[in-house]
Amino acid sequence: MPPKFMSQLVSAWLAAASLAAAGTAVAAEPLRVGATYITSGTDPAKGSNGWALVSHGVGENLFTVDKDGRLVPELAEKAERTGDLTWTITLKPGRMFSDGTPVAAKALAAGFENTFVNNKAALATGGKLTFKAIDDLILKVKTEKPVPYIQALFAEWPLIAYKPASDGNAVFTGPYRIEAFKTDASITLEPNARFPGVDKRSPVNFHKFGDAQTMTLALESGELDLAFGLPSEVVSRLKASPDLTIKSFPVGYQYLAFLNTARPLLGDVKVRRALDLAFDRRELAAAINGGEPASGAYAAYFPFAGKEARPTDLAKAAALLDEAGWKKGASGMREKDGKPLRLLAITYPQRPDLVTMLPVVKAELARIGVATDTQVVENIQQVASAGDFDIALWAQHTAPSGDPAFFLNSMLRSGASLNYAKYASPEFDAILDRFATEGDPVKRVTIALDAQAKLFADAPASFLVSPVWYVGMSKRLRNYEPWGSDYHVLRADIGEAKQAR
């Protein structure tokens, strides 16, 4: 086979491949957005797609939390209690789905009913809800359990508002509509012409990166207009670039460690409390170059947050381990009956800060003689659900609806679907039950503080860092103001620079 022929063959093939690929390129100038996560599908009732679709600017809720952390109406105008378990929701007039049909109570009811059948996370606060459309703008809602403030329930991430379509898809109301979706890779968005201000928004190519460092390189090489969730260690380097704008913002997320109470070694509360005391939160915050030591389950700016940073006390931690029978051996590591105290700590690459924290956690636990194996797993939800871990480093928005109850009910109540620590405490559940009947915000703060005190005592989770996150923007999006953590990455007010259009 003559090399010339081979060379011609390859050139021809490469040219053909290039032309084919070029043919798929979009003709307009879309915004290029990168993140380390993407919705896993377009079915809003499945898994955490409801959260992701709102984050992508595709969907909305009846109520939401605004830039200042206040719970405000979104698709709804107001909600009024009509009985112990019944409410009337009045919708805003004039709102449209992206297919041009009006947002009517009947359509929303069908969507919510579908969600309640298919997503257990929706049941966390009020149990199963039933819906009845009274007219186009009035929706009657009945909860299974008493809910003091239904506005907060409808701001929870599973309860995205949508209309089930006859072809099995869903129609949404947000500032963007889905043009194309490629599983695990990208989502192409067009401005929703039925949402006000359509002429101020460009199409968006939202690209998922498997690795935050790669996303950073894409931003640096001018391939992204917005990189959401930059690793903290690259921030100083990126700030030196005149073409980029880097902003940080406090988020409602908490970085925490779930301690699996169902595992033999962590079934002992003394061991869990010892771990909680061994974590040096200042060191962890410094390691990720952003954030404050956690004071409890909530970011410090919430009224129901703890007031003081969680303590570090190695001597007390060592004493607790001694009491539990875990004595230091000749190697300095602890063991009992010849068995070493060795734990498995896991986290996931979609939150790069957690990956940075993982070796620091290992080193901190080694100081009290606890050996740790570490693993970064691609699908943390699956591994955590299966209970295959001792310590799971986790990032969680603990008050996404501006209310403290949802996180505690959905992730720490006995038997809750997302209770990865397998924590089961009737006393704790009794504290949470008080949320159901208490509507006074001041008293709800007291309940949240009581619940946190119980968590500190039982240590099914160790709250580590209240982080700040970093976003990087090209000149085109330099006016972008990040807020609302990753619940509202793409918004109507995305702040695109006029001269770049």
Partner: protein
């Protein structure tokens, strides 16, 4: 006749691969229904579990399931992904061009570059090309493709702005293709060089020199054909490596190929996707083997 035998052997091999992979994937310890219930937050009622098992055909014994899958597969129905609910063949049709572009372009580029590199390495032993090809061969064995991809991206994309690995057009595959080719260039160039060097030690080569040909002319006229034959034999084994490199590049550069889809599907024990992937890879190996075999027949008529 040989081609008929090749065809029969290939089909038998595909059948064996499909049966073995189906059995192994089915016997993997985690249950896809349990995974789906956990990941999608589905209510774990008996009805839900039973409905999913029926919907995904998991209520059937292994062999009937296999033969039903096989019949569907050959008629173009590759089933639906447990994870996404989408048609597997539709996903593959959309993603295969990306993976094939990477794999085929990488392999083709490697062949094109390996021939001159191997030739000059053989023509000038211990010369620049020889030293470079040897160093390259050690380098690509020692350095992970993932790391090299990040470094090259930083140098070529960020510092020099010569390439655009995340552009929304064909330029996005330039660096991944180069990286896929890099490993194979090193291997193929050394194979090509070794064969040329062996030829140079043969009596007929000395005769050619005695006739007045220069060493390069003699190598090209009397050694190249045999070395190409050796190179094509090496391409058959290199095709397997290319699959791994392609998967790495798809994940590193976020290219929506079949390997990127596969990684997520493994975690979900998405049997239809895993099975389709195994079959696609088996066919890829078969095509590369068949292509190399045909080319070798052309080069050496004794094989025919």
């Amino acid at each position: 006749m040989n081609l008929v035998r090749f065809g029969i052997r290939s089909l038998t091999g595909l059948f064996a691969v499909s049966l073995a992979s189906f059995a192994i994937i089915t016997m993997m310890p985690a249950d896809p229904v349990s995974i789906a219930i956990r990941v999608w937050n589905l209510p774990a009622t008996d009805e839900t579990v039973a409905a999913l098992r029926v919907q995904w055909g998991l209520d059937q014994p292994l062999l009937p399931r296999y033969f039903r899958w096989l019949a569907n597969f050959v008629t173009g129905d590759w089933g639906r992904s447990f994870r996404t609910g989408e048609s597997v063949i539709a996903e593959f049709v959309e993603r295969l061009p990306v993976s094939l572009s990477l794999g085929m372009a990488g392999l083709a580029l490697a062949i094109v570059l390996a021939i001159p590199l191997g030739f000059f390495a053989a023509a000038y032993p211990r010369g620049l090309a020889d030293r470079f090809s040897r160093a390259l061969s050690v380098f690509v064995q020692a350095v992970p493709g993932f790391w090299l991809g990040l470094v090259l991206h930083w140098v070529l994309g960020v510092q020099l702005r010569w390439i655009r690995p995340f552009a929304n057009d064909w330029t996005a595959i330039v660096l991944p293709v180069l990286l896929v080719a890099l490993h194979s260039v090193a291997v193929l160039a050394r194979v090509y060089r070794r064969d040329l060097t062996e030829t140079a030690a043969q009596p007929h080569f000395r005769t050619a020199l005695a006739k007045g040909l220069s060493e390069r002319q003699a190598l090209w006229r009397h050694g190249h054909r045999g070395a190409i034959y050796a190179l094509l034999a090496a391409v058959r084994s290199e095709a397997g490596w290319v699959i791994g490199s392609t998967a790495t590049m798809e994940i590193l550069f976020g290219l929506p190929g079949i390997s990127q889809f596969l990684v997520q599907s493994i975690a979900a024990r998405d049997q239809m996707v895993l099975q389709a992937y195994v079959m696609v890879i088996a066919v890829w190996m078969l095509i590369v083997n068949g292509g190399a075999y045909l080319a070798m027949r052309l080069l050496d008529p004794r094989l025919a």
